[in-house]
Structures are given as C-alpha cells and as structure tokens.
Symmetry: C2
Subunit: 294 residues, 2 copies
C-alpha cells in the first residue's frame, strides 16, 4: 500500500448521502477505478447512476462483492446483519470491508457473528458528518472535507486493512482518529444521538398543539436551527437509537436531570440560578464549539 | 400620521442587538431625526456612538425621555419596572412608548402599574427576530427585514400610538401582526423560550461529562446548530423564563411527556414506533418550517 491509494473495485452497499459522497470523493481523488452501488430501490440507484455517483448498479449484494477490493456498508445499521450474512460467502480473501454506521459495538458484534474469517479484514468506521438530507441525490464529493472519521478496530484486525480504510477516508479529505468502540458509542450517544432525539421530540410536541400553522409561523431562526436535524432519515435514526440503546438511555437520563434542574429554577422564579446555568452553557459553547470548523 | 413616518427624537433604552438594530433600521429608512441611546455601561454606549447606532448617549433614562417622540424599551424584561417608574414622570403627553420584550403579559402589568396615565400610549410589541449575539456591536439595520413583529395592545390603548409603532416597525422592513398578550406568551413559550432552555440544558449536560474537549471535538454540525441559541444572553433569557414562568412550565411539561414517549420506545427497542415518531416530526418540520424564510 505504498504510494497513492488505488482501489480497483469499490462496492457501496447503500448509496445514500454517506455512501454516495464516499464514492464521489474517491472518484474526485482518482483513488478508485470502478464503483458498484447496491441498493433496495430502483429509483435511488437510477439517480445514483444518472448523477455519476456510481458506475454500475446492482440489487444483489452477494453478487456485487464477488471481485470487490473495498466494500463500504452504508445502510441503516438495522440492516447490517442481513447484508453481512448475504455477502460473507462471496467476499474475496483480499477484500477490505468497512462501514459508516453511527454506532460501533453493534456493528462489530454483527461482523463477529456473520463475517466469519473475513471479519479480520472488517474495519469499523464512522464518518462524523452528514446533513439532514438523505438519498443519492443529496451526496456530494466535499461532504467529508475537514471532518473527522472515527475508526474502532478491535484487536485482531489486519493492520493492512486498517491502513486501506484510513487512507481512503484521508483521500476524501477527512481526518481519521482511532477510538475504542465503547468510548465511541458513549460519546456519540451524547453529542449526536441525543440531539436528534431532542429535535424530533420538540417538533412533535409543537405539532400536537392547537393551530400549529400559526405556532410555527411565529417562530424564528432559533427554532429552525434547533430542529434542523429533525429532517434526518427516520429509519436510520430509529435504528441508531435501538443499536445504541444503553448509551443513549444514559445520556437521556443525564439530560433529564439537567433539564429538571433548570425547570425547578424556573418554578422557583430563581433568576439568579437561571442566569448562572445559562452563563455556564454559553461559556462552554464558546470554548468548545464556536471555534470549530463548520 | 398621514404620509411618511417621521420621528423627531427616538429614545432607545437598552442599546443592544434589538434596540440598536431598530435605531439603525429607522435611520436607514430616514424615519427618524435623532436617536438618543440610554444604557448602564459606558463601554456599550461608546460602541453605539462610534458605530453611529445612536447620535447621543445618556445614562439617565428620566432625563433622556423629556422631549422624546418615541421611546423604545429594549432592556432585559427584568428591568422594565425600574425603567418605567424612572421615566413615567418625565414622559411628554404626546410621546409613544413601546417595548421589544419577549414576553408581553408581564410588561403590560408593569406599564399598568408604573406608567399611570401615560400607559394609554404604551404599545406592547415583540419583534420575533434576533441572533445569538448581543450588544450594540451586534446590531445591524437589516435584522428585521421580512421578520414578524407581534403587537399586543389591550383595550384602551390610543389607536394613534398603535399606528406609530406599527409604521415604525414596517419602516424597519417587518410585517406586523396583532395578537392577544396571553396567546403571544403561550405561543412564544413553546416556539422560542422552550428551545432556549433545551439548548442551554443540553450544553450543560455535555460540559459536565468527563473530557468535554474530546466530546465536543467529536461533534458535528447537528449539535452545533441545535445549541446555537445557547450563545444567547444569559441575563435576558433568565428574565424571560421568570417573566413567562407559567406558560414555559406548561410547555416544558408537554415536552417532557413527548420525550418520555420516545425514551420508553428506545427502552423497549421499538424501532417501528421510533420510526413513526421521527417520520411524524420530519413531516411537520417539512410542512411548517422548511419553506419559511430565514
């Protein structure tokens, strides 16, 4: 793997925002010769072909991976076990397999159960990037530029496979960091999965009120930004919530306690305490989020 | 008040983002001759003078309003009673008084208590606009373009005063709607005050975790947008929470119930129910928020 990364055949299973953008970014970097996209719906695969996200479409993952060099699993995490058991018998010995799932312990458990010996070349990865849009038409080559990709290979994974995955993401413009899968799941439950649950719940609560048209009509940019991620794929996020259940329940409990502290201060009309709580949040946001690249 | 609106002397008490932008917008529209800014801190008033947000600075509201034609109260709502009782004896009979507070029932109660006969020319108003930044240096003339300003004059307010306030906001580029003060407070509790409480609580919960630098470092655009409004003024928002306590507690209760329904579905690992909840939220956001002007 010295010199420039060159993947012969890339198979992307699940040609949505993430899978499609990975294909486009590697094409732009001239790091891949041919991309085969695998999907469940004809319409999305047609979009992907028309937009040159992929060079060839297939609805059969087992056939598609026969002569693959790199396989990216970019389906909702709830489909990982079905896809892995379908492709396992046909994976070439040299192929590297990776995924883009937002949870890692469950995907590793799937790989251990379904990929057999090929599991030693499975490199769990999570690109921390996305928009609230989904589907091949939402994909773009620049999605991962300057973003972080977390890889969580456990002991026993082939070092060469880890290198291929790291270099592929670097070719997409991403920065790659290595993390323990459990730490990954706990952190992402807090900074990503919880905010999604919050945004969905807030919109649902507002939509249940009388006259939601007037209610939303009187909202401003604050609400719009707060709930932007409530536009994200329901299927993908339902799967993530189930896959990362324990870490997410722990994060929800912490958040509930924090919210209760604020609620109690409001009930007491304790402006001093509220000011302290809000000032602490503002300072933390300033310190850790404002200077981050968008 | 036929023809073009022309205010002789505008007094802005509280030259922050909202008060400063109101002054700048009226100047740009050539709808005001002279702007006097009143504030508590020398630094912010100097900024306002230097940036030509105001023409004259004063630290004494009672003196400043002596020959005012229009007075805008743009302080945090917690200061309204002190400001009103200070200016009441010196308000000219012809002057129109208005405010820009995010809550309306409490401001109306203040006016009834402290403005005496001048209360008949007090027009409660709330520009539904803002950014997470505060202070005179954050002000800009275009802040209210295309935004909504809600006026909530109760029975007995002079029609001419309402017209002046409506036309002033229209000169700033805003659309003015009239609402009952109670309806205003209930709606804003849900679409604005609750999202702020949520954003502050989420940041505080994350900041309490071990290694917050790593935690925030692995977050993406979703978290950043969700908590953007946690950068808002702590003092202003503490006051709003106290001023609109009952409506906000009711909104928090609804939100808590919605969140609990989601939490229970996560605990049951009920992907179907989660998918339904998230799809409902996505559809509501799409219908009511996506097509709104930013």
């Amino acid at each position: 793997m010295a010199g420039k990364l060159k993947i012969g055949k890339l198979v992307v299973i699940g040609v949505g925002l993430i899978g499609g953008s990975f294909a486009l970014a590697l094409k732009r970097a001239r790091a891949v010769r041919r991309v085969v996209g695998v999907g469940r719906t004809r319409g999305n695969l047609s979009d992907a072909l028309r937009l040159k996200v992929i060079d060839e479409a297939s609805r059969d993952p087992a056939q598609a991976v026969r002569d693959a060099d790199l396989v990216l699993l970019a389906t909702p995490v709830g489909q990982m076990s079905a896809v892995m058991s379908a492709i396992a018998p046909n994976l070439p010995a040299h192929a590297v397999i990776t995924d883009a799932g937002s949870t890692k312990r469950d995907v590793i458990a799937c790989a251990q159960r379904f990929l057999g010996a090929r599991g030693a070349r499975f490199v769990p990865a999570h690109p921390v990037a996305g928009t609230e849009r989904s589907g091949a038409h939402a994909a773009f080559a620049g999605l991962f530029e300057g973003r972080t990709v977390i890889v969580t290979p456990q002991a026993g994974i082939a070092a060469g496979a880890v290198t291929v995955v790291r270099r592929a993401w670097e070719a997409c413009g991403a920065r790659v960091v290595r993390l323990d899968a459990g730490a990954h799941d706990a952190i992402l439950a807090a900074v990503s999965h919880l905010p999604h649950v919050i945004a969905y719940a807030l919109v649902n609560m507002l939509a249940r009120r009388p006259d939601p048209a007037r209610l939303f009509g009187l909202s401003a940019g604050g609400l719009r930004d707060t709930v932007r991620i409530a536009g994200s794929s329901p299927e993908m996020w339902a799967d993530i919530c189930v896959a990362n259940r324990d870490a997410l329940l722990a994060a929800l409990e912490d958040y509930g306690n924090e919210l209760e502290q604020t609620r109690a201060a409001i009930e007491r009309a304790d402006a001093q305490e509220l000011k302290l709580l809000f000032a602490r949040a503002r300072a933390a946001r300033e310190k850790w989020l404002v200077k981050k690249r968008s």
